[in-house]
Each structure stands twice: as structure tokens, then as C-alpha cells.
């Protein structure tokens, strides 16, 4: 018997019992949609967690720390010698934060960095270029909005956060800062120290502006200065605060960048062997992934129970179909239909029911998922008067989940259709012809 004929045969059989078939399909649809929806929540949380981790760091980044005190130039040299290390980014915090441009003032986080290493580590500029000479600097994307004219005393008092931010924007510098020269004031942050002498200043030129941070809520108004400028201004600052002498050559942050994410594990091991502490996204993701994979497996397991319940419906429907049609089966067997043909016909029927259920269930799950992700932020905003976190999703259906769900649903369907189909092959020809089955 050709497949096309089996298909036609099954179709006409299904049409004869439309209501029953559709109810069974409905049950499978619900089971399948439930499985996908439930698991999609796990997938969404996992994705959010992974995205979150990765939004702060790069995959090929390893943060280095030392058990006993800060790292110094000698440590950097050791790290640079390790195979597959592309760059070692190191920062020194500069304890002077005030910069001005005319009547505008900013208090920025200033770090001195090794510019070539930053470039190699993957620093991206939105505008401009990397510094080439001592007094050239790079500023963060949000630097300009922190550069403000002086505001009246207690200006933001009584305003809501939102209002205050809006009002403060009016005082911010709104021109292009690229190639502008700022005045860097050699004032120490330490409030205990009062300077009597005249404050010295250094002129710095903005040559590059960093890219916007990946997350909407992150702001970057920091400043990167060159190593050379750091060497020049530190003596000036130590004059004011002699304590600074001690931390002069220690790095506040050292990060190693490998050539690719695959090298992170090996390089991390080597760095650990040299006695440092390491932290990388890769190692954190590994733990995160194990945890969430178990979590998702649990959800899929619970969802599969719904599919299993739906499959009881398929089992019932198919058993009834076989019983109803046992006379037809008997006649077909008498004429010369092989048990294999009979079995295939009934398996095909349960397969179609399952396929419809899975198809509709998947579509339904996608619709619900889309709907929830669309509606939830609106609901949260309406009832809690609060914005949900950006990029927040409650349900995420990657293709892998669809594949898993379809596989589970179809296997369960075929399994539940198996026994009725096998029963169909055992219909006794004589009993069927005598019409007493």
C-alpha cells in the first residue's frame, strides 16, 4: 500500500469522527503548549542570567587579583609572558577628579591606563582616536552630561528623581567635547586635606570618546589618561597628600585578555599556577549553566507529565478507533492486507493527531510567549508603578526547546498509539467477518 493511499485512508477515517479527533488534538495541543511554556520560563531566566553576566564582561576576559596586596608592573610582565595572552589591561586610580571647561565642572573617575594594551584588549571608540601623546585623554560616553554649570544651592530639593535628572540636564554641556581642551585640577579627593597653596592645573585634550555601555542603565563618565601623564601628576599630588606615595605604582585593576574565549580556561590555569586569583565569565558561566540546565530539565520533566496525560487521550481515541473499525480491519485482512499495513495505518492516524497537537501547541506557545513578554512590562508598570528591568523577558523559546518539545510530544504520541495499532493487527478475521467483535 502506497503512503499516499494510507494518508487518504487515514484522512477519511479521521473525518468520520471529527469531534473526537479534534478533542484529542486539543488535549495534545494543550499538553505540548504547557510543556513549552513552562520550560520557556526556565530558558528565559537562564538567558537573562547569562546575558547579564556577559554584559559586564567580555568572554575572553580574566580578572586577576593577588592574595597579598595589589599587583605591580612586575606581575604584569609575568602575565604578558603567558601563551595566548593577547593583552594585559591595567588601571591605576588617580585620586584627583576635578576637570573644568570654562564655567563647566565635572568630578570624574580618572584612571591611568596603558593605551596600546587597552587597544589590544578591545577598547572601542565611538569617536576620535587613541591618545598618541602624554596630555591626550579618552572620556566615557556620558562624560558630557556630568559636565555641568554650577547649579543654585539646594536646586533639586523637593523634586522627584526623574524631575531632578531632567532639570540637571539643562545645566549640562551640550556641545561636542572631541578635541576640546579641559583643565585638570591637581586637587586630592581626600576631604581631610586642606590645600593652602595655589592649586596647580594640567591641560588635557579629549581625543577619543568611548562607546556607549551595552546596558541602558549603565553610565560611563570616566576618564582614561596616559601612563606618562600619570607619572607627571603623581608627584604633584603627593606634594599635597604624602600618603599617596605608597600606592604610587600599584594597579587597582588588572585584566588579562586571551586571543579567544576557548583559551580562557587554559590561561586561567596557568595564571593560577603562578599564584594569582582569577575570575572569568567563562568560569562563572560554567557554574551558571550547570545550575540552569538542571533547572530547565526539571521544568521539562514536569511539562512532559502534561504531555503524558494528553497521550492518554490519544490512547483512548485510537483504542476506540480500532474497536469501531475491527470489521473493516477483518475484511481488509481477509482480502490480503498485511499486519504491517494495518499497523502503519493506525500509527499514521495517531501520528497525525500528535502532529496536529504538536504543531498547534507550538504555535500557541509562541503566541502566548510573545503575548506575555509584550504584556508583562505594561502590567508591571500599571500596577506597581515601576519600570521592569530592561530586556526583561519571562518566556524565551529557543529553537532547541522547540526541538526538545516536539521530540517529547511525538515520541509520547507514537508510544501511546503503538498498543492500539498492535491490537488492530491481532483482529481475528473470522470473528470480524461474523461481526462478533
Amino acid at each position: 500500500m502506497k503512503f499516499k493511499d494510507k494518508h487518504r485512508f487515514v484522512r477519511s477515517n479521521m473525518k468520520r469522527n471529527k469531534t473526537r479527533v479534534w478533542m484529542t488534538i486539543l488535549a495534545s495541543t494543550m499538553g505540548c503548549a504547557f510543556l513549552i511554556m513552562l520550560a520557556s520560563v526556565g530558558f528565559a531566566i537562564h538567558k537573562t542570567a547569562v546575558d547579564d553576566v556577559m554584559s559586564y564582561r567580555l568572554m575572553n576576559e580574566i580578572e586577576i587579583q593577588n592574595d597579598n596586596g595589589p599587583l605591580v608592573e612586575e606581575d604584569v610582565k609575568k602575565l604578558q609572558d603567558i601563551k595566548n595572552v593577547k593583552a594585559v589591561s591595567r588601571k591605576k586610580y588617580v585620586p584627583a577628579s576635578e576637570m573644568t571647561l570654562g564655567e563647566y565642572t565635572v568630578y570624574a573617575e580618572v584612571n591611568s591606563v596603558n593605551m596600546p594594551s587597552e587597544r589590544k584588549a578591545g577598547l572601542q571608540l565611538e569617536k576620535g582616536r587613541m591618545p598618541k601623546s602624554k596630555n591626550e585623554i579618552i572620556i566615557g560616553h556620558h562624560f558630557a552630561q556630568e559636565l555641568r554649570k554650577e547649579m543654585p544651592e539646594n536646586f533639586t530639593e523637593g523634586m522627584s528623581d526623574e524631575e531632578a535628572q531632567k532639570e540637571m540636564k539643562k545645566f549640562a554641556y551640550d556641545g561636542d567635547l572631541l578635541n576640546q581642551t579641559l583643565t585638570y585640577h591637581m586637587k586630592v579627593d581626600n576631604p581631610d586635606i586642606k590645600t593652602e597653596t595655589q592649586i596647580k592645573t594640567v591641560q588635557v585634550k579629549v581625543v577619543g570618546i568611548k562607546e556607549k555601555p551595552k546596558k541602558e542603565w549603565m553610565t560611563d563618565s570616566s576618564v582614561m589618561i596616559t601612563d606618562d601623564l600619570h607619572s607627571e601628576i603623581m608627584p604633584l599630588l603627593t606634594e599635597i597628600d604624602p600618603e599617596l606615595k605608597n600606592s604610587d605604582d600599584s594597579y587597582t585593576s588588572v585584566r588579562v585578555y586571551t586571543s579567544s574565549a576557548e583559551d580562557v580556561k587554559e590561561v586561567s590555569e596557568k595564571i593560577k599556577d603562578k599564584g594569582y586569583l582569577t575570575y572569568s565569565v567563562v568560569s562563572e558561566l560554567k557554574e551558571l549553566n550547570i545550575y540552569f540546565t538542571l533547572f530547565k530539565a526539571g521544568l521539562i520533566f514536569i511539562g512532559a507529565i502534561a504531555v503524558l496525560i494528553a497521550s492518554i487521550g490519544i490512547f483512548n481515541t485510537m483504542t476506540m478507533a480500532v474497536t469501531e473499525r475491527s470489521q473493516d480491519i477483518g475484511i481488509m485482512k481477509a482480502i490480503g492486507a498485511t499486519p504491517k499495513t494495518i499497523k502503519r495505518i493506525f500509527l499514521l492516524e495517531s501520528g497525525y493527531i500528535g502532529l496536529w497537537g504538536v504543531g498547534l501547541g507550538t504555535i500557541l506557545a509562541y503566541l502566548i510567549s510573545y503575548g506575555i513578554n509584550f504584556a508583562l512590562p505594561i502590567i508591571v508598570e500599571q500596577f506597581m508603578n515601576e519600570k521592569p528591568p530592561e530586556d526583561f523577558i519571562l518566556s524565551y523559546i529557543p529553537w532547541s526547546l522547540t526541538v526538545i518539545a516536539v521530540t517529547i510530544c511525538m515520541s509520547v504520541t507514537l508510544l501511546s498509539g503503538w498498543r492500539p495499532a498492535a491490537k488492530a493487527t491481532t483482529v481475528d478475521v473470522l470473528k470480524a467477518l461474523r461481526r462478533d467483535v
Binding site: M1, D5, I335
Partner: protein, 234 residues
């Protein structure tokens, strides 16, 4: 065409512990030559249907030996038996055994569908066969919308569609009135003479036995060769 040797059969009745064995056929030997019409007669309950069901493969015997058209069928597996039936045997039943949810056309077409014949070829052959039994106008009627005689003609068309060399019939005229019965018998005779189809027919009445070349009688499970009635015409 058919050779039955030393065939015995007993029904098992009841549950395993209190099983009752009812012997029905005893050491039956039967030969049917190609082109013959053989009538099996005997009293009700004598085992005629049982013998035919064994030859059809609907039931299986542990003892004895059946060969049909050169193929030793008694040892075949269930699916091989089914394939053999489809190709070599045609069936006519007392109660027609048409599938009620299929039209006359679809019922006749069924063996071709099972064999996997292409749709176009199926249509040609089925229409030709319906014409042969005079039912081309009724092709889209369901069995419930046909008279008994018409239904029997549909079932004959179905039996003939794959040109089997042998047709087995268990009281084919049992549900027909005398006019339809006469018509059917003439048709059988015609098929036998024109196409050389061999028939093995179970029957009560003498009319049917009258078209047979030979008559065998079953009495209490034993087969007796009856007298030759007609010469086989070749």
C-alpha cells in the same frame, strides 16, 4: 490448483484450565484441478466452512498440508499469507463483507490499493470491472444504498479485480433470491469457461451443485469424494 493432504482441525473451547477440544475435521485429502468448479456440500455443522477457512488461511492447522497454485501455504507466516491471498485468491462471502464506509468503487478498488497500483491504473481497472458486473452507474453508492444482489456483484468485482486464479466462496447465494442466485451462478460459469478461473464453492443447494464439475461431501468431519457431475471444459 489445490492440494489438501491429511488435514485435521480441532477447535479449542474454554479457558486454559478447562480447555475443551472439539475435533471438526479428520484427515481430509482434497485435490482441485485447474479450471474446475468444485462444490463442497454437507449438513450444517459438518465442517465445510472450517475447511474453506483453513484453505483461505483465516485459521491455521498444526497438522496436514495445503498447497495452492504450487505454493505450500500451510507453513506461511501471517504477513506472507496475506500477500499470497491478495495475489492468488478471490473471496465471495454469503454476507458480502463490503466495507460500509466505502463506495462501491472504493470497495472494488481496495485490493489494487493494497497492492500499491497507481491511481490512474486503478481507476481504469476498477471502472472496467464495475462495467463487467453491470454496476458502472452505482460506483459512488455505499453498500447500504445497494440491493443484496448488487452488493454481491460488488464483492465479486472486488474478488476478481486482481485476476486471481482461484476463487473461494462460502455459500455465495445464501443471501440472494432465486433470480439473483441464477444470475450469479451463470456468471460463475461464464468466468470459469472464459477466464479459466477455478472455483471452490460451499453450498447447501442443488442449484449451485449443478454448475459444479464435481461435488465433495463432508460428513462429520470426514471428506467423501462425490460423483463427477460434468466434464471440465477447456
Amino acid at each position: 490448483m489445490i492440494t489438501v493432504r491429511n488435514l485435521s482441525y480441532a477447535f479449542k473451547i474454554g479457558k486454559k484450565e478447562k480447555e475443551n477440544i472439539v475435533p471438526v475435521l479428520h484427515h481430509v485429502d482434497l485435490q482441485v484441478a485447474e479450471g474446475e468448479i468444485v462444490a463442497i456440500v454437507g449438513r450444517s455443522g459438518s465442517g465445510k466452512s472450517t475447511l474453506l477457512n483453513l484453505i483461505s488461511g483465516f485459521i491455521k492447522s498444526q497438522t496436514g498440508d495445503i498447497t495452492i497454485d504450487g505454493q505450500q501455504v500451510s507453513k506461511l507466516s501471517e504477513s506472507k499469507w496475506a500477500e499470497f491471498r491478495l495475489e492468488h485468491l478471490g473471496f465471495i462471502f454469503q454476507s458480502f463483507q463490503l466495507i460500509p464506509s466505502m463506495t462501491a468503487f472504493e470497495n472494488v478498488e481496495l485490493p489494487l490499493v493494497l497492492k500499491g497500483v497507481s491511481e490512474k491504473e486503478r481507476k481504469d481497472q476498477t471502472m472496467k470491472m464495475l462495467k463487467k458486473v453491470g454496476l458502472e452507474k452505482y460506483q459512488s453508492h455505499y453498500p447500504g444504498e445497494l440491493s443484496g444482489g448488487q452488493q454481491q456483484r460488488v464483492s465479486i468485482a472486488r474478488a476478481l479485480i486482481l485476476n486471481p486464479p482461484l476463487i473461494l466462496a462460502d455459500e455465495p447465494t445464501g443471501s440472494l433470491d432465486s433470480e439473483n442466485e441464477k444470475e450469479l451462478l451463470n456468471f460463475i460459469k461464464e468466468l470459469n469457461e472464459k477466464d479459466g478461473i477455478t472455483f471452490l464453492i460451499i453450498t447447501h443447494d442443488h442449484e449451485v451443485a449443478s454448475i459444479a464439475h464435481r461435488k465433495v461431501e463432508i460428513r462429520d468431519g470426514y471428506l467423501r469424494e462425490g460423483s463427477k457431475l460434468h466434464e471440465v471444459q477447456r
